[in-house]
Amino acid sequence: MSLGLASYGARHVQALLASLGRLARNPLGTLLTLIVIALALALPLGLELLVTNARIATGGFANAVDLSVYLKSDVPLAKAEQLATSGRARPGVAHIEVISADAALAEFRAYSGFGAALSVLSANPLPNVLHVHPRPDAESADALESLRRYFAAWPEVDLVQIDAQWVMRFNAILEVLRRLLIIAAAILGAGVVAVIGNTIRLEILNRRGEIEVTKLVGGSNGFVRRPFLYAGIVYGLGGALLAWAIAAGAIGVLAEPVARLARSYGSRYSLVGPTPQELGLLIAGGIVLGWLGAWISATRHLQSIEPRA
């Protein structure tokens, strides 16, 4: 059994080496094919990195989703504290800060530049406000809306405002990008299968004579097909590695200016490259697509080549 397995392994190694040798003998053609495959794989990878990086870059803001609950102006601070306590008990609420009318006025006076104008007011026109921070698991649009309605139903509440609608829009944009990524990956994946299938088809036609002779001396379809499948796998793997190199190169070029941009916003964010999982998926995807393209092409075209003595 172990001998059988060893010779099984040996003939696969043989087929693989033969495929590599043949690809190496036509370096320009091989390189062009690899570049086409790499570009087709690099585009979805780039989109994935764009989405991931956008998520990370905005991670700080995404947590800033909160609700401002404006109480009616006749609700005293003590009552506001009491309301905050009962609000904290609601599921989905992380914490609530009470911003008293006086504190809000002081802050407004300090930052708005209307300090002098405000001092002519006889009374504080601002209401007491509760700042409600939802728990991270309650940040979906539905959960926020349900929180909004909960607070809006209190008789002491004048107005509830969700402060981070743009964050939700941004998340929606990311979701659109993610869908685009899936569509692009599917279309370009089909393209990779087609490119590899066509390359293998040409290779089969080029080696028609050799295939005929091999079948003549008793080579099975499986035997004849094996080196072509390896060629497909090598194309897919090579394309995936080249796509990784392209992505790494792009990140290298962008890293410095992006970091500078982030610093100007006071962020320590820097570009992230593909995770091991993303790389694994890229490489496995390349291999599977390469094998599939070669298998379809070889199965189709090898059957039509029968020896004619």
Partner: protein
């Protein structure tokens, strides 16, 4: 070893390659298939090697009805037959060694065994030491001997040759035939298609003559029990 029972082969273009041919070749026998080109010699060989299927009739090889053989078993079946061609069908961009080894490689023979057998086969055809040469670096006669080494390397019980001497001068042709004769002497059944009557008479072996798809002569009784409606 080989039995054709009323075998006809009509090609898709309508040409009748073989008409109700009945013939028999015993194990260990060496016979010539003779006749003008187009008489059906190649058709007989193609039917033996399952490069074609008969339109009508039965072909038995080694006692097995080839009509019941499934396509996926054809490669293994062909590995049991050595084939030699007029144009030798060598892979020109591969060295002699690779060409001769091919039948063993497709049969997944271990590399060490391949090495031993390639040397033995090249020795038998007098080409030991030329392993690394490319076919085009050899003379026509040598190329044909490489083809023969490839045909016998898997020690087939049956060897078929289609005009193996067609491109060779008389001396080389005789040399190739003597080579075949030596394989016959160790028990290989051999069928050689040729139109070189001089050569056939020189060797004095049984001949099966074809004319326009019909068998003209010969003691070709099929096996007992298959006589039926002759």
């Amino acid at each position: 070893m080989i039995v054709f029972d009323r075998v006809s082969k009509r090609y898709p273009n309508g040409r009748e390659g073989l008409s109700a041919a009945t013939l028999r070749v015993d194990a260990g026998e060496m016979v010539f298939l003779t006749g003008r080109s187009g008489a059906g010699k190649s058709t007989v060989l193609k039917l033996i090697a399952l490069l074609e299927r008969p339109t009508r009739g039965t072909v038995l090889i080694g006692g097995k009805n080839t009509g019941t053989l499934k396509s996926r078993h054809i490669p293994a079946f062909r590995r049991g037959i050595g084939m030699v061609f007029q144009d030798h069908k060598l892979l020109l961009e591969r060295p002699v060694y690779d060409n001769v080894a091919l039948p063993l490689v497709v049969a997944h023979t271990p590399l060490k065994e391949i090495d031993k057998r390639v040397r033995a086969a090249l020795d038998q055809v007098g080409l030991l030491g030329r392993e690394r040469a490319l076919p085009l670096e050899l003379s026509v006669g040598e190329q044909q001997r490489v083809g023969i080494a490839r045909a016998v390397i898997s020690k087939p019980a049956l060897l078929i040759a289609d005009e193996p001497t067609g491109n060779l001068d008389a001396d080389l042709a005789l040399e190739v035939m003597r080579l075949f004769k030596r394989f016959q002497e160790v028990g290989v059944t051999i069928v050689v298609a040729t139109h070189d009557m001089h050569l056939v008479h020189e060797l004095g072996l049984r001949e099966i003559t074809l004319d326009n798809g019909h068998i003209q002569n010969g003691d070709n009784d099929p096996l007992p029990g298959m006589v039926a409606t002759r």
